[in-house]
C-alpha cells in the first residue's frame, strides 16, 4: 500500500513539474520567439536614441560700402541665430521652495510670491517659468545649483539692427517659418534641411556611443543690395521729415540707376523686428507690410515727366515746342485747372514741367492720343509687378485703354486715375536716368550655400522704353525743374539734379477725392543729371505742415542727396 501511495505522489509531483516546465517553456517561446520583435524594440527604445539635428537657418546680410559679394561675410548680418534657454521647474524635486523662489525671482525678474505659489507643491510638471533667456542669465540660474530646476535650449532668430530695414527683412514665427519680407520670400533658401543622428545611451541618459548620422544641410545666407549706411541714413532723414511736416507716413527709395539694385528702401512708421509678437498681439500687423511695394497711390505730377518722355520719344513735341495755355480747360464737362489756379500763358514743354502745368499736360495728352499714352505707361512698367524679390508686391491699376474716355486720358497726363507703387515710380525714373533702359529692380545681391558657393544676381534689362536721346532731353528738362521750378528744394549746390515734384490728391473710398488738406507729396529724381549715380524717390503722406510736394518731399530729397553725394564721393558737375 505504502509503495503504491509513494508512486502516485511521485507521479503527481512529476506531472506538476512537467506541467510547469511546459508552461514556462511556452512562455519562454512566446517571449523569445513570438514577441521577439516587440521586446527588442522596447529594449532599443531604452538605450538607443534618435535625435533630430535641425538645420541652422541662413543669415541675412546688408551690404557694406566697397565690400563685394565675394567677401560675403565681411558684410553686416541683420538676421542671425542665437541659442536661448527656457527655465523649467519640477516642483516635487525642489527641496527648499521658499529659497528657490526668492533666488529665481531675483535673477529672472519674476514676482516672488507668484513663483513660490506655483512651485510649492508636488506637481511633476510645470510650464517653463521663464522663456527665451540668453546665456548670461542662464549661467546665473545654473550657478544656483537648485534641485528641480533645469534649462532647455533652442535656437532663436535675432535682428541686431532692430528696426533697420524691418519691412524688407521680415521675421520668423515660432515654427521657424519666414513671415513677411525676405524671411518669407527666401524661406526655402534660408531654411535648409534637418538631419538625424542615432546612438546608444546609458541608464542615466548619457550618450555612450554615436551611431549612424544622416547629415542635414544648413540654410543658405542671403546678401541684400541694401547698403547699411544708406538705409540707416534714409530712415533717419525720413523720420525727421515725417516729424517735421507732421506726416502720417512716408517712404524713401534709393536705387542704382545702372543696375536697378535697391540701395535703400525706408518706410515710416516701421517697427522693431525683435518685438514682432508684441505688435501682433496689439493688432499692429499693418506695420509688417512694406508700403514701398504694397502701397498703391496716385502719383500726381511726378507722372508728367513720364508722359512728356513718351511725347518727345514719339516725336509729337520737342522740349522747346511752344503753346499758350490758360488757367483751366474743360474736358467732358469737367474743369481742369492749374494747381495754383493761374494761367502760365506762352510756355515751352520744358516750362510745362517747370510750372507743373496741368492745362499744358491735358493739351499734350490730346495730341498724343490714348494708344501712345497707354503703351508708354505699360512700357515704363506700370500696371504690372516689377517682380522684385519681396512678398505681397502690388502691380497697380491702369484702366483698360478701351474704356478710356477723354477725361481719363486728361487726368492720366497729370497722374490722376492711375494707381501705382513707389517702387514702380522710381523704376520709371531709373529708366530715364539710365538712357531709356528699364532695369529689373532687385534687392538680393547674392546667396551663399553652406559649402561657400556664391551665386550673384545678374542685373537684368527689361526693355528700352525711350531712346537715349529722349532720356537726355528729359534730363535737361528736369534739371530746369530743379533750377527754376518746383524742385528747387531738391538742389544741391555744385551738382545738377534732375527731378520732378508731385502733390497728389488722395482718393476717397466713397468717391472723389479728400479735400485739399489731404495730399501726398512726392519728389523723384537723380544726381548728377549728366551721369546719374543714384536715383531717389521721397514720398510723404498727408503732411500737415506743408502744402506741396516741393515743400515737404523736396527738402528731404535735397538733404538726403547732399549726404549721398558725400558718401558716394561724387565729383561736382561741370559748370556750363
Amino acid at each position: 500500500m505504502n509503495g503504491d501511495n509513494s508512486d502516485s505522489r511521485i507521479k503527481i509531483v512529476f506531472f506538476f513539474v512537467i506541467l510547469i516546465t511546459c508552461v514556462l517553456s511556452f512562455k519562454l517561446f512566446q517571449i523569445s520567439v513570438l514577441s521577439h520583435g516587440r521586446y527588442v524594440a522596447m529594449a532599443e527604445n531604452q538605450y538607443i536614441f534618435t535625435k533630430e539635428m535641425p538645420a541652422e537657418r541662413g543669415r541675412i546680410y546688408l551690404s557694406e560700402k566697397d565690400v563685394s559679394a565675394s567677401d560675403f561675410n565681411k558684410n553686416y548680418p541683420v538676421a542671425l541665430n542665437i541659442e536661448i534657454y527656457d527655465v523649467n521647474v519640477t516642483p516635487r524635486n525642489i527641496r527648499k521652495p521658499k529659497e528657490a523662489a526668492a533666488e529665481l525671482a531675483k535673477i529672472l525678474d519674476l514676482n516672488e510670491g507668484e513663483l513660490f505659489n506655483s512651485i510649492n507643491n508636488d506637481k511633476p510638471y510645470l510650464p517653463a517659468i521663464k522663456k527665451g533667456i540668453e546665456k548670461e542669465l542662464a549661467d546665473k540660474v545654473t550657478d544656483l545649483k537648485l534641485s528641480g530646476v533645469f534649462l532647455t535650449t533652442s535656437e532663436s532668430r535675432i535682428y541686431p539692427e532692430a528696426s533697420l530695414a524691418s519691412q524688407i527683412i521680415g521675421f520668423v514665427n515660432s515654427e521657424n517659418a519666414g513671415q513677411y519680407g525676405i524671411e518669407k520670400s527666401f524661406n526655402d533658401t534660408l531654411s535648409g534641411k534637418s538631419g538625424t543622428t542615432t546612438g546608444e545611451k546609458d541608464t542615466k541618459g548619457r550618450i555612450i556611443k554615436q551611431g549612424d548620422t544622416v547629415e542635414g544641410q544648413n540654410g543658405n545666407d542671403v546678401l541684400l543690395t541694401l547698403d547699411r549706411n544708406i538705409q540707416f541714413m534714409a530712415e533717419k532723414k525720413l523720420k525727421e521729415g515725417v516729424e517735421k511736416y507732421e506726416c502720417e507716413s512716408g517712404s524713401i527709395i534709393v536705387m542704382d540707376p545702372k543696375t536697378g539694385a535697391i540701395w535703400a528702401m525706408a518706410n515710416s512708421p516701421d517697427y522693431n523686428i525683435n518685438d514682432f509678437s508684441k505688435l501682433a498681439s496689439e493688432k499692429k500687423e499693418y506695420l509688417f507690410n512694406n508700403p514701398s511695394v504694397t502701397g498703391l497711390y496716385e502719383p500726381g505730377s511726378t507722372f508728367k515727366a513720364l508722359i512728356m518722355a513718351a511725347a518727345i520719344d514719339k516725336g509729337i513735341v520737342e522740349p522747346d515746342t511752344q503753346e499758350t495755355f490758360g488757367k483751366s480747360v474743360m474736358v467732358m464737362g469737367y474743369e481742369i485747372s492749374t494747381a495754383e489756379d493761374k494761367a502760365f500763358g506762352l510756355e515751352t514743354m520744358t516750362d510745362v514741367l517747370v510750372h507743373s502745368d496741368n492745362v499744358g499736360m491735358v493739351w499734350l495728352g490730346d495730341k498724343m492720343g490714348n494708344d501712345v499714352i497707354y503703351d508708354y505707361i505699360k512700357n515704363f512698367g506700370f500696371g504690372e509687378k516689377t517682380n522684385i524679390e519681396l512678398p505681397l508686391e502690388q502691380g497697380g491699376v491702369i484702366r483698360d485703354k478701351a474704356k478710356w474716355r477723354d477725361i481719363n486720358r486728361a487726368t492720366t497726363t497729370f497722374g490722376q486715375g492711375v494707381s501705382i507703387t513707389p517702387l514702380q515710380l522710381i523704376s520709371a525714373y531709373q529708366t530715364i536716368a539710365n538712357g531709356g533702359k528699364l532695369m529689373q529692380p532687385y534687392i538680393v545681391k547674392a546667396t551663399k550655400s553652406p559649402d561657400g558657393k556664391i551665386s550673384e544676381t545678374i542685373p537684368k534689362e527689361v526693355r528700352q522704353v525711350i531712346s537715349t536721346e529722349t532720356a537726355t532731353k528729359l534730363s535737361a528738362m528736369m534739371v530746369e525743374v530743379v533750377e527754376r521750378g518746383t524742385g528747387k528744394h531738391a538742389k544741391v549746390e555744385g551738382y545738377k539734379t534732375a527731378a520732378k515734384t508731385g502733390t497728389a490728391q488722395v482718393p476717397n473710398p466713397e468717391g472723389g477725392y479728400f479735400d485739399d488738406t489731404v495730399k501726398i507729396g512726392t519728389l523723384a529724381g537723380y544726381v548728377p543729371a549728366e551721369d546719374p549715380k543714384f536715383v531717389m524717390l521721397v514720398k510723404l503722406d498727408k503732411p500737415k505742415k506743408a502744402e506741396w510736394g516741393e515743400t515737404s518731399a523736396g527738402p528731404v530729397f535735397g538733404d538726403m542727396s547732399k549726404w549721398l553725394i558725400n558718401y558716394l564721393e561724387m565729383r561736382p558737375s561741370a559748370a556750363n
Binding site: 541659442e83 558725400n566 565729383r571
Partner: protein, 107 residues
Amino acid sequence: MLTNTFEHTAYKQRTVERGITLGPTATKFITVILIAVAALFYLVQQTQSATKNYQLQEKKIEKEALLKESERLKVEAIRLQSLDNTTKGAENLGLEQTNSVNYFDAN
C-alpha cells in the same frame, strides 16, 4: 658495465617520470581558468571601450560648447557694431557729424 647501466637508467627516469601529465580534473580547472581570464580580458576591453566612448563624448560636448560660446561672442560683437549702438557711442563721446566736405581739384 655497471656504470653504463646506471647512467642509462637514470637518464630514462628523468625524462619520463618527471614529465607533466594532465588529469581530467586539472584539464577542467585550467579550462575554467582560461575561460575566466578570457572573460576578464573581454570585460576589461569592454569597460575600456565604454570609458573611451564616454571620454570621446565628453570631448565632443566640450567642443560643441566652445563652438557655441565662440558663436555667441561673435553675435555679441555684431550687436555691438549695430549702427544704433555706434551712433549712441558717437554721441556719448561728444563727436559731431560732418556737415560739409570740400574737395580740392587735383589738377
